[in-house]
Amino acid sequence: MVMAAKEVTTERVYEVLMTVMDPEIDSVSIVDLGMVESVTVEGNDVKVVLLPTFLGCPALEFIENNTRDAVQSLPEVNKVEVEVVFSPPWTSDRITEQGHVNLRKFGIAPPPRHFEEDGSWHVDCAYCGSTYVSMENIFGPTACRSILYCKSCKNVFEAMKPVSTLM
């Protein structure tokens, strides 16, 4: 049986990219993390351009492969190209509102959108929302996370580091 080749749409590609999760925070998709810079479709070929969050991030290769596999899984897709570029640089304000919601679900406070004048920043507790927290370690279990302690609910929680070109 010969199947008529269905047209590939960017919407469909984005839909499938929403299922590609950060391997280290599996409640947040790479789209909501703001890692997808562009999707281009030419006929049945697809090109996805990704921005790495941190340069030394060991998860990047997994993400590249998972992205390729996910897009390739669409029956209408022929060739898939995944490219990683550094410009524009990824910044934490690329994370979507949905990304913020999903980070909290994972117990991670989303990156604050504002810095104090001295360059410091503040987040509320990822669990109880209390503002009464202290920074335990600015470097967390992965390059993009910090460890904090909530003095209200007495939980240790993590926060996604804010990253901005103004730094």
């Binding site: 340069l55 030394g56 550094f86 640089p89 470097f139 390059a143 580091k161 730094m167």
Partner: protein, 270 residues
């Protein structure tokens, strides 16, 4: 990324290549020495923080080696692992051991030395990266902008340690002063471009050596003023210039460990 060579003169490409080797080798050796602290840092939070900084720095090295690969100089892994010590362009400071002993046996590493080396090196990196954001070579501008954002957290970290140890006990202060002397002895090639000075400066890849030194001094001056100590002098002429391939024995042992696995089978995928 494959057509970066288009429209580039041979002299310009040579200058870019020379600078990239200096930047890449600095990061590789600094990251390696920093990673030797894994499991040995003063406390568990510091272990997490130092290894995170080491990992970021290794990421920066990879990025610079990748830019060399894009220029057709060789594969990034080969460039990182297979070049002999006398072809390396890192500063002497980055190759120095962390202290007596081997990390697999009974290391007597010097934390004060690591703090001072890291603080001074990171501020030097900041001076260069700021200037690279205005480089004539666009791929370097893009890399520098990305690196600068991560560097912010590294600087914050080492500055905190530096200030705290120098505001601590007399023993701590003395160890820090000794470490400052030791680090500064090796600082003579930090801002040197070696034999490639003219090529790098004339092609506006990075600002002049003297401007980098001034920028470094200005960046640490407020911290030194608060601690009531003098900003140390950068040696006029380096006793060894890593930018010209002159190195200590420490580099050979670092490379031997760093590349041991890769050399077993360069074709294998790790």
């Amino acid at each position: 990324m494959s057509n970066v060579e288009n429209g580039m003169s041979k002299a310009y490409k040579n200058a870019v290549t020379a600078l990239l080797f200096q930047l890449a080798d600095d990061e590789l050796l600094y990251a390696f020495r920093a990673s030797e602290w894994l499991g040995l840092a003063p406390h568990i939070e510091e272990d997490v923080a130092s290894s995170s900084i080491a990992q970021d720095s290794m990421g920066h090295a990879v990025m610079y080696y990748k830019l060399l690969e894009d220029l057709g100089v060789g594969s990034e892994d080969d460039l990182a692992h297979l070049r002999p010590a006398n072809e390396r362009k890192n500063s002497i400071l980055t190759e120095r051991v962390n202290g007596e002993g081997y990390y697999m046996e009974t290391p007597q590493y010097d934390w004060a030395y690591h703090v001072v080396r890291s603080y001074f090196y990171t501020q030097a990196k900041k001076a260069k990266v700021d200037s690279l954001c205005q480089s004539s070579y666009e791929p370097l501008v893009e890399a520098a902008m990305k690196i600068r954002m991560e560097l912010y957290y590294h600087r914050l970290h080492w500055e905190t340690w530096f200030k705290q140890l120098l505001s601590s006990t007399d023993v701590a202060k003395e160890k820090m002063q000794q470490a400052i002397e030791l680090v500064m002895e090796d600082f003579g090639d930090m801002f040197s471009f070696g034999k490639d000075k003219q090529a790098i400066e004339e092609n506006n890849l990075l600002c002049q050596e003297e401007a980098l030194k001034a920028s470094w001094k200005a960046s640490i001056a407020p911290v030194f003023a608060k601690l009531q100590i003098e900003v140390p002098e950068i040696p006029e002429t380096p006793h060894l210039n890593g930018r010209n391939g002159e190195h200590t024995k420490d580099l050979e042992s670092a490379l031997a460990t760093l590349s041991e696995v890769y050399r077993i089978d360069p074709a294998a995928g790790w």
